[in-house]
Point group: C2
Chain length 391, copies 2
Amino acid sequence: MPPIKATHQLTKQHNRDLVLKTIFENDTISRAEIARVTQLTRTTVSDIVAGLILENLVKEVGLGSSIGGKPSILLSLVADSRYLIGVNLAQNKFIGSMVNLRGEIKQSVELPVQGEDGEKAIQLVYQILDQLVKKEWKPIVGIGVGTPGLINTREGIIVSAVNLDWKDLPLALLLQERYRLPVSVMNDSQATAIGEFVYGDHQSDSNLVVVNLMHGIGAGILINGRLFQGDGGGAGEIGHVLVQENGLLCRCGRHGCLETVASSRAVLQDLQNVSNSPEISTLDEVEAKFYDGDPLANEIVLKAGHYLGTSIGSLIGTLNIKKVVLTGDMTRFGPSWLNAVGQSMSQAALGRMVQQTQLELGKLDYRACILGSSAHLLLDGYSLLFLQPEN
Amino acid sequence: MPPIKATHQLTKQHNRDLVLKTIFENDTISRAEIARVTQLTRTTVSDIVAGLILENLVKEVGLGSSIGGKPSILLSLVADSRYLIGVNLAQNKFIGSMVNLRGEIKQSVELPVQGEDGEKAIQLVYQILDQLVKKEWKPIVGIGVGTPGLINTREGIIVSAVNLDWKDLPLALLLQERYRLPVSVMNDSQATAIGEFVYGDHQSDSNLVVVNLMHGIGAGILINGRLFQGDGGGAGEIGHVLVQENGLLCRCGRHGCLETVASSRAVLQDLQNVSNSPEISTLDEVEAKFYDGDPLANEIVLKAGHYLGTSIGSLIGTLNIKKVVLTGDMTRFGPSWLNAVGQSMSQAALGRMVQQTQLELGKLDYRACILGSSAHLLLDGYSLLFLQPEN
């Protein structure tokens, strides 16, 4: 294609994306307001909107308030005009959900994971997806998967996911071939960060850190409204940052990683060891003891919060990001744990940097990963990749 | 202005910036190559280049090799068609330099700083700039200042620079009014990072961390080719990240910051204390002892390297950036110090992330800050702000 056409085509594409993104970011919006926000002319906006209405992506939903002049017609995304599948490959269970364009979960399929790994774990993913694609939600525009481990998102490869014994697994390709749909594969903490950013009411912040505290610990870092993955896809791997020289052995083979002292796994093991109570086998039991006022459980949970706070302090002292959202299993320990995190955070970096930082609990629990995985399909750099008209 | 004109104007501006940036990034380049790189049409490129030649920003410099067809005319930036002033407000001396568009330093003025602060320090800056603007280098298109401290670059305010006793100082405004030139003010480590990025041969990396080891310690983080300053301008303040619980008192009022163990100040103080040699009063003397094989000096310097490496490991374990450049006073301790940094770095985060990371010494010494401060004027988001034609 000669350059002039490419450029023209790119501009059209870019303008359409801009309009669609603006509608996506607002419950309802008028054409005039879109023109104001996007700086496009009203004619351009009207033309693009006409196309989007034809594609059934956008509809007119009523009249806005009028200031002078006649009231303007409000537009809205047609939430159920397309569906996405989001999958969360968590430690003990895999969950897949059908999600509409507004991030509403229409249906979920869940399978327990009891040690399945390798090919067996892949079969579990197929089982979930097979069930979901059979349902009435149509058309499906893509599949997004969030999984623990180091992921090469660009190529859709699981570089390494220790729990599942996956190494250099081209999961995106496998799923694309089986389901004939675009597939995005990403780290679960990064997916969770996108989920919280897009659907957790944090969009007023263009930079955001989301720390996901599960069996392991990972973070997702949004910079200027986009996920930052680093040069190798591993940005946010704070679970393996050293916090205790000569500390406990980590599953990564090193000693004293943050995961060994601040994850849900660490807290459970710690309580088993310290209280000599091997009968405690789940985090629910730790939680019960904690809320019963058990002093050992209390000490262990707050210590975990302390180490986490120090690590977050380093991160914020380095990136100077104003908002940190905590998600995952450990958030069940509530305000006193959050308080321990905050106190240690504020001691670990310059006051003027950490004082500005708000520490919050996530709003979406396990759904954040599902919604983030699916939203990534829509919103990679806000290009709304898979909502392109065919031509 | 009605939106249609604004959009058209913005597109023209954008295309001109793109062409100028492409010429800036290449020693010489043909119009056809510019069209290929920018995806603009040859006609558009030719029109823009004609304008740039009229402005004397670009000139034709000869013929390129021909592959078939006739040889193409090569273009180049006219390095000495405009000048910028870059200023480095370092601990013991202030340096201002006249820099051309290729980052060549034409002349420098240097003044020792012997405890001057507050208004007196501002007067020193005026003295340097007064001398520079009198010289034959014309036209000057702007002044860029790099200074230690927390800086609000957008508003040109020194929020806090402890050494100079500056607090909420509107330095950009003061200099703009005095010299009638655009002024950019930024943190010295961030400026150093831009300098190394633009002129230190690292442009093939779109992400880069530069750690500047002076009296204090700071870093500059480039993400997708742009300086990341965080929500409050303080991104990169790794000097005040906690590395030793209950460690030495830092000048920030907290204990155990990285600066207290890994800066040039720390090394000097440490040697004075440990060797009971108060007569050692400069880093040059520490260096002499170090290279004489003094075991205490050796131990102290390598310990400083160890702590630095651990901090860099955390940073890289979090951001997964492939290249880290070390600059500043401490780099004088050469390969064995660098080795200590590298070893500790590789223990502080996941192997697969730190193994990919190259640790290098900066190439530009104190000039990095000067060149970065001045380049920031040209290249803020590559908009070549102050090379706009008047209209």
